[in-house]
């Protein structure tokens, strides 16, 4: 097992009456691509801002490379490329100026890398940031995060505002960075993005961690989606067996669909008792697994 790069230990951040995050604990290992998913307002950005040292935890702790995020954010930041969810760049600066300033803040010579990344993202370096579209501002953020070739990339909703072609370039680039040893932590509510890139995923709901699972486990040991149609009406409690979830039945009672992660033998026996017209057993999409967590 690789060394943990990010460790969250019972991290809690509250804003008086407003909910922040509560008791978040998980770790991200070196070389991983780790997804952080949850709907808007779940607390993803709050957690990330605590990791970046912008917010001081109410209790618990967050550390990166073994250093406390609230005590030594500057030391941590040397090896971290950060892409915030919102565009937060100096509008009166030109893209080139802004990126070179970023490189200077990291103490690196960013000219070559900047040209290379700008070329890949088709980013015009001579334009003023304030004049850029939302998508182009996002590109500036991505290039800025990748510019210092960091050991860890933390990205909050990285693809919002990007067109599909640039999204593909971004995914390719992330994979390349990961192959070179960069650990990647990205938050998203676009599940297909997480499904496509991540090794493991943490699910956040209403400020609390629902679970952390590897994508493989989530799929292999998780639910199967079963949809079937029988010749006669199926009794409502027919599939009341352990492991059934999200049960839905049509008005006629002949078609049902549900998620199942119980015993294969039990479900086979149940299905055997029915006179089936059609059956479909498939991998649920991450969306369906995700929605299941929310019920």
């Amino acid at each position: 097992m690789n060394e943990p790069v990010i460790v969250l230990n019972e991290l809690t951040k509250s804003y008086g009456r407003h909910r922040g995050v509560e008791g978040i604990s998980f770790s991200v290992c070196q070389g991983e691509i780790f997804g952080f998913i949850g709907p808007n307002g779940a607390g993803k950005s709050t957690t990330i801002r605590a990791l970046m040292g912008l917010l001081k935890p109410t209790s618990g702790s967050a550390s990166i490379f073994g250093l406390d995020c609230s005590q030594e954010p500057a030391r941590i930041a040397k090896d971290v490329g950060y892409l915030p969810s919102e565009n937060c760049y100096y509008n009166n600066m030109k893209v080139r100026e802004m990126l070179l300033y970023t490189a200077e803040l990291y103490g690196v010579d960013g000219h070559r890398r900047m040209e290379e990344l700008a070329g890949r993202f088709n980013l015009d370096l001579s334009r003023r940031i304030g004049d850029l579209s939302l998508g182009n501002k996002k590109k500036v953020g991505i290039v800025s995060a990748l510019l210092p070739s960091p050991k860890l990339l933390i990205m909050d909703e990285p693809t919002s505002g990007l067109d599909p072609l640039i999204q593909q370039t971004f995914y390719d680039l992330l994979k390349e960075e990961n192959e070179h040893g960069t650990t990647i932590f990205l938050s998203s509510h676009v599940l297909s993005e997480v499904q496509r890139l991540c090794d493991r995923v943490a699910i956040l709901r209403e400020g609390k961690l629902v679970g952390v699972q590897s994508m493989k486990t989530l799929r292999e040991n998780g639910y199967k989606k079963i949809s079937l149609t029988a010749k006669s009406a199926i009794p409502e409690d027919f599939f009341s067996i352990p492991g059934t979830a999200n049960f839905e039945q049509d008005k006629a009672g002949t078609s049902v669909s549900f998620m199942f992660n119980g015993s294969s033998m039990t479900i086979m026996e149940k299905l055997h008792q029915l006179e089936l017209e059609d059956i479909l057993i498939e991998e649920p999409s991450l969306e369906e697994i995700f929605l299941h967590y929310y019920e």
Binding site: M52, L54, A74, K78, V80, Y82, C88, L105, Y106
Partner: protein, 263 residues
């Protein structure tokens, strides 16, 4: 120095415009007011005996002298200097929040300490540039229109302008760190400076010196400079203590607080 260089680049035009405007104004207004010296003796007695001059801490005798008139004028320029200083100090920090750039800057390896130092240095340089330009313009206008003034006393009067601007710049820096969400820094600066000016006028009118400790305008009395050839030591001590307190409080706060984000 990197943060300072960047902040200087951002604020340079603003500082230079203020410095130039103040220099042009003091240069052109001083000779106009010198003409008043000749007419001071013909002012209506009600006007000369009222409390108006007391609130400005300039006696008619002092006003009759070139440097006295210059002190009187500088009293008004100190209001402008205060607004400039406080607005500069405030906006250095509030700008990061209201323009939504704090999340960029505070996640870079420079650290909060360097950001604080860089911004404070920028405020100090801004005060120095304005002060030097005010000094040169004042010196030039005095030399051209009323040469032969006591240079030591003149420097103390110009120093009043610089020290007061510095006071409000550091106050602004501190307030900006405590309330970074302020979207009207110029209005805030104007109100604070005006209230402080009124406090000084009030303390002079009621002749309660202790009230003067609440306002930096009281620390630089033209008549005390004229009479003693120095600033009051108790006010100066209090001034230095306040500056020190602003810096320490601002520094401690910036290290500990959550970074305020506009979104």
């Amino acid at each position: 120095m990197l943060i300072f260089r960047f902040e200087w680049k951002r604020t340079r035009n603003y500082i230079l415009i203020w410095a130039a405007a103040l220099a042009v104004c003091i240069f052109s207004m001083t000779p106009v007011y010198y003409d008043m010296i000749e007419t001071a003796g013909t002012l209506p007695s009600g006007f000369t005996q009222g409390g108006f001059w007391e609130t400005l801490d300039v006696s008619l005798t002092l006003l009759m002298e070139p440097l006295g008139m210059y002190s009187f004028l500088t009293g008004f320029f100190m209001i402008a200097g205060g607004v400039f200083g406080m607005h500069l100090g405030l906006s250095l920090h509030t700008g990061e929040c209201t323009e939504n750039t704090a999340e960029y800057l505070y996640t870079k390896p420079c650290g909060r300490q360097m950001i604080f130092k860089g911004k404070m240095l920028c405020a100090l340089v801004g005060v120095c540039v304005t002060g030097i330009s005010y000094l040169l313009a004042s010196f030039l206008t005095m030399m051209l229109f009323r040469p032969g003034f006591p240079v030591g006393e003149f420097l103390l009067v110009v120093g009043s302008f610089v020290l007061l601007t510095l006071f409000f710049a550091l106050l602004g820096l501190m307030v900006g760190i405590f309330h970074p969400n302020n979207r009207s820094p110029l209005l805030t600066a104007g109100l604070v400076v005006f209230v402080e000016y009124c406090i000084t006028s009030f303390s002079r009118t009621v002749s309660i010196r202790a009230i003067g400790f609440l306002s930096p305008f009281s620390f630089f009395s033209p008549s005390e400079i004229h009479d003693a050839g120095a600033y009051s030591w108790d006010y100066m001590l209090w001034y230095l203590l306040l500056l020190f307190a602003f810096i320490i409080l601002a520094y401690k706060k910036i290290l500990k607080r959550d970074i305020a984000l506009a979104v």
